[in-house]
């Protein structure tokens, strides 16, 4: 049997459970701060510590953020949702139960479109998104065989976004995760910081023979907190499952952990060892009841969403769908772009939008990528970039020299004006000055002049080139063309 054709006959099935920490100032059921990075256990009050007698009080902002998310993915926002207790013992879970939502989540039946490699669009269904509290952290290092517990994170609000098993490759899973990542930051409901664990996911992965109706047995890979890890972990897991089945084995339903150092997943616990969480409605909290007015008030606060924005850029400014996609892929980039366009002086909106889009998607992106920087770390600010475009608009410099100005800006800083000044890049628009150069060139090249006048039109380019060379590219091209034509005609 041919190995390649066999591998081709397997289909991968992936569903993601994304955990996004909500950007509330205080915890979901207590008044403690949610700020990251404080000394261990300094941001945990009696409620977070699960002291005897304390009670949870729901943070309304967490509810608003979950509703915002639901509306942004076109989901049904439940008018009545219920908090439940998920019971299990672990030292970083102070109460011995996590308050979550189980049977009645706040958000159900949403969707998110992703763009596949071939350019086509695929819709990933979102089963549900529910509110819950995060657990604390167990610190396994630095305690000589003991485990340290930091409860600062305990009680931080999360939404868990559960997808249907609609993804068919690691790339699709990453594309979906990135779209959700972009969305939660657009909505300002999550800072998206994956290193700090604000945005992470569990991936449910299974394989089946292409065309099979039933899903294969799945494994859940826990706590993936980088796009790269998700892709590697899923690809490893898919290969592991296929190899296992082809070798005559069966996949066991398991929870697995990805080891980024070794690039492999390993079993954490089997289905048999899984906890019975004994969910039941939390009697300390009332059902969350939302009326239409509350939901429509939140709908009114929604910003322009990435997909909407991309469509608008194409429609209004004739940007290519590709450029529009790049510019809206992150809230920060979109904001950079919007800000730049909004402060350019001169030119009409559409031409500025196109010109800035070109600069951002080509020159700026190239520079960022070369130094592996994020847009928030760009060495050229929107103000600088807008200044450059403004100087093109008012003909201070030619488009050709703009790239040179940009490179100086990137390398040394400074405004477009200062760079143009110090490098002497100002465009020559003085007709007299250009005429003088042209006259000199005509005088120095009598043969070419004669040839041109006898019908060798192509020599026009030679004269343009000579003028530009003489002026170090600074002569205004339109003026050069016009003046040359009349002078050469005699």
């Amino acid at each position: 049997m041919n190995m390649q054709s066999d591998a081709m006959s397997w289909e991968t099935v992936i569903g993601l459970e994304i955990h996004a920490q909500l950007a509330t100032r205080t915890k979901i059921f207590s008044g403690s701060s949610t700020a990251f990075g404080a000394a261990p256990n300094t941001q945990a009050n009696l409620v977070d510590l699960g002291y005897p007698g304390v009670l949870p009080v729901l943070n309304q902002n967490a509810v608003k953020m979950a509703v915002k998310f639901g509306l942004a993915v076109g989901a049904k926002v439940a008018q009545r949702s219920v908090f439940a207790r998920k019971n299990y013992f672990y030292p970083d879970l102070p109460k011995g139960y996590q308050i979550s939502q189980y049977e009645l989540p706040i958000v159900e039946h949403g969707k998110m479109d992703i763009v596949l490699e071939d350019g086509s669009t695929k819709t990933i269904r979102i089963t549900r998104a529910h509110l819950e509290e995060d657990a604390g952290k167990s610190l396994h290092e630095d305690f000589q065989g003991y485990t340290g517990i930091d409860l600062n994170r305990a009680g931080t609000p999360l939404i868990e976004i559960v997808s249907e098993p609609d993804m068919r490759s690691a790339k699709e899973a990453v594309a979906y995760m990135k779209k959700i990542h972009t969305l939660v930051r657009y909505l300002e409901i999550c800072d998206g910081n994956m290193q700090e664990g604000s945005f992470r996911c569990d991936a449910n992965v299974s394989v089946r023979k292409a065309g099979a109706e039933k899903f294969g047995t799945r494994c859940e890979i826990k706590n993936l907190n980088s796009f790269r890890f998700i892709e590697k972990a899923i690809n490893y897991e898919v290969a592991r499952q296929i190899e296992l089945i082809e070798g005559g084995g069966t996949v066991q339903q398991q929870t697995r952990l990805f080891d980024p150092d070794k690039g492999e997943t390993r079993a954490l616990r089997s289905k048999e060892e899984a906890n019975d969480y004994r969910y039941f409605p939390d009697p300390d909290l009332l059902p969350v009841v939302l009326d239409d007015a509350f939901i429509s008030d939140i709908r009114a606060t929604l910003p322009e969403l990435p997909d909407e924005k991309a469509h608008r850029l194409v429609r209004e400014f004739d940007l290519s769908p590709y450029d529009a996609g790049v510019l809206t892929a992150s809230r920060e980039l979109a904001e950079y772009y919007d800000k730049t366009v909004s402060i350019v002086v001169g030119g009409d909106r559409k031409s500025n939008a196109k010109a800035v889009a070109n600069t951002v998607t080509n020159i700026l992106t190239f520079s960022l990528n070369k130094e592996n920087l994020d847009i928030t770390e760009s060495k050229v600010t929107p103000e600088q970039l807008a200044g450059l475009q403004s100087r093109i608009n008012d003909s201070t410099i030619s488009g050709k020299l703009a790239k040179e100005v940009f490179e100086v800006m990137w390398a040394e800083g400074g405004s477009a004006d200062a760079i143009i000044e110090s490098k002497g890049l100002k465009q020559i628009t003085d007709t007299g000055a250009i005429e003088k150069v042209i006259d000199d060139i005509i005088a120095a090249n009598p043969k070419q002049l004669a040839d041109y006048r006898s019908g060798k039109d192509k020599l026009f380019a030679f004269f343009v080139g000579q003028v530009m060379k003489q002026t170090a590219g600074k002569a205004n091209p339109a003026q050069v063309n016009e003046l040359l034509k009349s002078k050469l005609a005699g």
């Binding site: 510590l49 002291y51 005897p52 139960y97 909290l285």
Partner: protein, 487 residues
Amino acid sequence: MAELHAQTLTELAAGLRAGKFSSVELTRHFLERISKYDAELNAFITVTSELALAQAADADARIAAGTASALTGLPLAHKDIFCTDGVLTTCGSKMLSNFVSPYDATVVTRLKQAGMVMLGKTNMDEFAMGSSNETSFYGAVKNPWNLAKVPGGSSGGSAAAVAARIAPAATGTDTGGSIRQPAALTSLTGIKPTYGRVSRYGMIAFASSLDQGGVMCLSAEDAALLLQSMSGFDVQDSTSVDTPVPDYSATLNQSLKGLKIGLVKEFFEQGLSNENAKPVREALAVYEQLGARLVEVSLPNLPLSVPTYYVVAPAECSSNLSRFDGVRFGYRCDNPRDLQDLYTRSRGEGFGSEVKRRIMTGTYVLSAGYYDAYYLRAQKIRRLITEEFANAFKQVDVLMGPTSPTTAFDIGAKVDDPVTMYLNDIYTIGANLAGLPAMSIPCGFLDGLPVGLQIIGGHFAEAKLLNVAHGYQQVTDWHKRMPERYA
């Protein structure tokens, strides 16, 4: 003037305001009685003498300055289920035998702000699980009417302390009858308010959807006074209800003419013919003389309240008690080998057998495969019972009947038979399942042991209950009787 300890809280309040005695004198009197009698009663787990005298001195200053409230300077004891800042709070368990609470429960805060003086913390069944106060890590409490008998539970320490007049009043909590049954067994007035009327913040949870704080005292008038300060919405308890607290004392003297009293057919038609129910029958006759009418009502599902309760309450407690794991506070076993050992031994050694029994029952009824058959079904019956009560209150103003099926029983008589013990709560549990306010008031004696009359009202009908109880206490003196030994 009667001896200080023979007076009701209302009388003591008047005496304080009239300057007949100071709060310090009053407090010292009760502290002396505690040190004289509590060795035999075991009603207190902690006596806070110094704190009490300091609070009393503050109260005297407030009274002198004219900034006192009705309760300023009056002593009381708190059930040891209420967290008290800087004071040992054990919940009757070895698990919390070293737990000094870093904060006050809302009930404690409110009574403190009113100027009340805390004498100490009273004994109770472990985590409020029991009907005889025999499950306490701190030992059984004796009934002041007969030291061989139980005082009832779980608020047995509060009951014994007030009945023996070593405290003029005490807080209690009632999850299935834990205020009313001990009040009945020790001849006290006890009230469990509507669920949500009194904040549960700082009250160590047994069964969150059933637990409700209340008071045990000597008269309906006293209960009105205390409840006034304890009640009301609390932002820290999402299940507390934001509805105004009426002036309970203002309506105490309303006429009972035309009052419609419901007798629950399923419970009391047989129970009332029983010789044991003679005092209850006589009390009903008193109400008829006061102009009330007796009406039979039917609550067909009420007899299911005990099995329903013994699914719901253990389910909630199994989860509520998970936080006692030996990690952050409370009892921790010596030299744990690993995490599993830490959990297993800390909980195994820290909890008593009744608590373990309920945790196991609760874990079982919530388990995959059993949840629907037990927990969900119990919730359905709970809703039916609640509806049946609501329908009954369309026909009658209050329901009445016995509080407890028997008078106080011998210490040790039922400890090995949990099911018989559970049946003690047969008359009281319904009000908890439906979240209704309910009282027990003294209505006589059988063989020298007190009998209680239970009065149940509709949601937030505390004022009506207190009025009905007060009317009876104006024409009877059962509530004034005290055990000779402590007179």
